[in-house]
Structures are given as structure tokens and as C-alpha cells.
């Protein structure tokens, strides 16, 4: 189990992921999950660490600037070779970029200097309600409405729901492979994030973020 991973064993040893992330507990505790992950082969372990580092980083931190995000994105894309991991990173970055654009437009700012494939597209369709991305990202209108209604929890739920659906869809293409493990981790992270969410703390954080942005006149991610 050190050189190569026994995926049949590994995947069968993991509890099933719930159908939705809206549950009370994660299916397996973080400690137990880490114990299991230590049984992966060396190469797989490195890739898993890259994914985990990114998912941890992906949790919003208001002190980051667009330049920080750009640097992290460039660093990740130059160091990650696994196609699925690159897909995970790209999708999350796209979601960040679109969300950032929605927030900035709502606050009366210009398009974000964010990263990913949609930067130019958003700039081009800045005045369109969903940046002409509704087909690729059907969650945009719902998130925009939730932002307008000042419902941060609904925004978070819809963003996580869109990401969850994306990971579930990707999972359908894999069975007893390393990709299955990566997508399990990605979904576990969503469940973990959701179960830790506290509505009042989320509102406080959102207001703090809003205040910072208003004060600095930009830099929101």
C-alpha cells in the first residue's frame, strides 16, 4: 500500500457520501479521513495534499487581494498536473470570479481583475444580468437575487450547491479510481464547510467584508 494504492479497498472503506451536503454531520470525521489518506501511495498522497491545500485556501479570507489570488492561481496551475485537480481548481476559481463580479457590480464597482477563463467574458458582458453565463452556470441568477436580498446564507448555500452538483456529476464518470477519492474529498470538504456554518457568524463576516470593501474601494474577491 505504499508504492501503489489499492483503490478498491480504499473506496469501499469510506462511508457513503450523503445525497446532499445539507446534513448535520460529516460522513467520516476529519481525523479518521486523514488516517485513511495516509494509506495512499506516495504519488497519490502528494496530489491529495495539493487538493486539500487548495480547498482549505478556497475558504474565503477577506484579507486576500486579487493579486494574492492571481499568484496562488498561477502557482497552482504550474505545479498541478492531474487533469481532475486542475478541473477542480478551475471550476472553483470561476465560481469565485463570477461571484466577485456580481458583488462588485452590486456595489457599483467595475469588473474584477480576477483569474480564470471568464475574466474577459465578464468584462465584455458586464451590463448583462448574468454576464451571458447562465447556460454554463445556472446558479448565477439565484445568487444575484440572494445578494440583492442581502441573504448571505442563501448565497453560500447556492454556491455550495452548484459546486456539489458539479462534483457529483464528475463522480459519475469514475468508479474505484483515484479520481473517485479526489471527488470524495472535494464533496467531504463541502459537507464539512456547511456543517460548520453558523448563520449569525456568516452574516457578521459578510457585513465585515462589505465594510472593508466600501472602505478600500475594491479588492474584494
Amino acid at each position: 500500500m505504499t508504492a501503489a494504492t489499492n483503490y478498491h479497498w480504499f473506496i469501499s472503506s469510506l462511508p457513503h457520501m450523503p445525497r446532499s451536503f445539507d446534513v448535520e454531520h460529516v460522513p467520516i470525521s476529519g481525523i479518521r479521513l486523514q488516517e485513511r489518506l495516509r494509506m495512499l501511495g506516495d504519488d497519490d498522497k502528494n496530489t491529495v495534499e495539493q487538493v486539500q491545500r487548495f480547498l482549505l485556501w478556497d475558504r474565503q479570507q477577506p484579507e486576500r487581494t486579487d493579486e494574492d489570488v492571481q499568484m496562488e492561481y498561477d502557482r497552482l496551475m504550474s505545479s498541478v498536473s492531474n487533469p481532475l485537480v486542475r478541473d477542480i481548481i478551475t471550476y472553483r476559481m470561476d465560481v469565485r470570479t463570477i461571484t466577485s463580479a456580481l458583488r462588485r457590480r452590486r456595489l457599483g464597482f467595475g469588473p474584477p481583475t480576477a483569474v480564470g477563463q471568464y475574466v474577459d467574458h465578464i468584462r465584455k458582458h458586464w451590463n448583462h444580468s448574468d454576464f451571458r453565463l447562465q447556460r454554463e452556470h445556472p446558479w448565477i441568477s439565484g445568487v444575484r437575487e440572494a445578494l440583492d436580498a442581502n441573504k448571505p446564507l442563501s448565497v453560500e448555500r447556492q454556491l455550495l450547491n452548484a459546486t456539489w452538483d458539479r462534483w457529483v456529476k464528475l463522480s459519475d464518470g469514475f468508479c474505484f479510481s483515484f479520481e473517485t477519492i479526489l471527488l470524495y474529498l472535494a464533496r467531504w470538504e463541502i459537507v464539512d464547510r456547511w456543517t460548520r456554518l453558523d448563520e449569525s457568524a456568516g452574516r457578521k463576516k459578510f457585513e465585515q467584508l462589505l465594510a472593508q470593501t466600501m472602505a478600500s474601494g475594491g479588492g474584494i474577491k
Partner: protein
């Protein structure tokens, strides 16, 4: 050239057993690993999980029966038939055992959290087994007309 044809004939006699055994090794290995992993996540039903991982072993038995049927003094007349039928039925047994192992692994993974669907979950493995049986039966039927056998 004659020696080579005879060599193929002898290979054809043993190929069903060899390929069947290779398939069973891979299939049982995959399903068995899945069963071992599932043992960490369930509190009961261990026997059913481990038992279902043994399903792909039947291909070896079919291979042995075909080899016994084919076992005869190999001649220039019988060698081509033995080789072609032995190779094809061997391949059928090989792939069916591997795929059945994957089906069993999936069934084990499903059953650990929904034990009540075990019967349905294992059905794809049974269907794959059916195709292995078809290949086995028809190898025996067609093999009966190869010269040098009891029916030939």
C-alpha cells in the same frame, strides 16, 4: 511448422484454464479488496460481503472443464480447432471474470450502506456470469466436433 501447429494445439487445450484462472485472480482480487475495505465501515453482514467476492472463481472451474474436454492426443487435424476454440473461450472467461469482479466490488460498496438491496446489487454480476456460461457451454458443444475427441 508442424511442431508449431502442435504447440498451438496444446496451448489451446490449456488456454481455457489459464485464462479463466487469470481472470478469476484479478476478479476475486478486486472484489476481495472491496470486501476487506467495506469491513471497516460495517457492523454486520461480513460473510455476505466476503462471500460475494468469490463469485469470479467460477470461470476457473469452467476453464478446467473445457480443458478436460479438450484433453486428447493433439494432432495436425485437431490442433487448429483446439487452439481457436480454446483461445476464444479462454478470452471470454478472462474478461468475464475481471468484469464480474468489478461488478461484485460495486455491489459490495453499495450493500455496506443499504444491505436490503444486496440481491439487486449483485444482479449485474449474475448477468455477467450468464455470458460466461454461454461461452462455456458452446465451447463444449463446438469442441465435441474437433477430431481426436470422444465425439470426434
Amino acid at each position: 511448422m508442424e511442431s508449431f501447429i502442435l504447440l498451438l494445439g496444446w496451448a489451446g487445450v490449456f488456454l481455457p484454464t489459464a485464462f479463466g484462472a487469470i481472470g478469476s485472480i484479478i476478479g476475486c482480487g478486486r472484489a476481495g479488496q472491496a470486501a476487506s475495505g467495506a469491513l471497516l465501515d460495517v457492523e454486520s453482514g461480513y460473510g455476505r460481503l466476503v462471500g460475494s467476492s468469490a463469485l469470479p472463481s467460477s470461470q476457473t472451474i469452467y476453464g478446467i472443464v473445457v480443458t478436460m474436454q479438450f484433453n486428447r492426443a493433439v494432432s495436425l487435424d485437431s490442433a487448429p480447432g483446439l487452439f481457436s476454440i480454446g483461445l476464444l473461450v479462454g478470452l471470454a472467461l478472462l474478461f468475464s471474470a475481471i468484469v464480474q469482479g468489478s461488478c461484485c466490488a460495486a455491489a459490495i460498496n453499495t450493500t455496506k450502506s443499504k444491505p436490503e438491496v444486496f440481491g439487486l446489487a449483485i444482479a449485474p454480476a449474475a448477468i455477467v456470469e450468464g455470458f460466461a456460461v454461454f461461452a462455456f457451454i458452446f465451447a463444449l458443444i463446438v469442441g465435441g466436433s474437433i477430431p481426436g475427441g470422444t465425439a470426434g
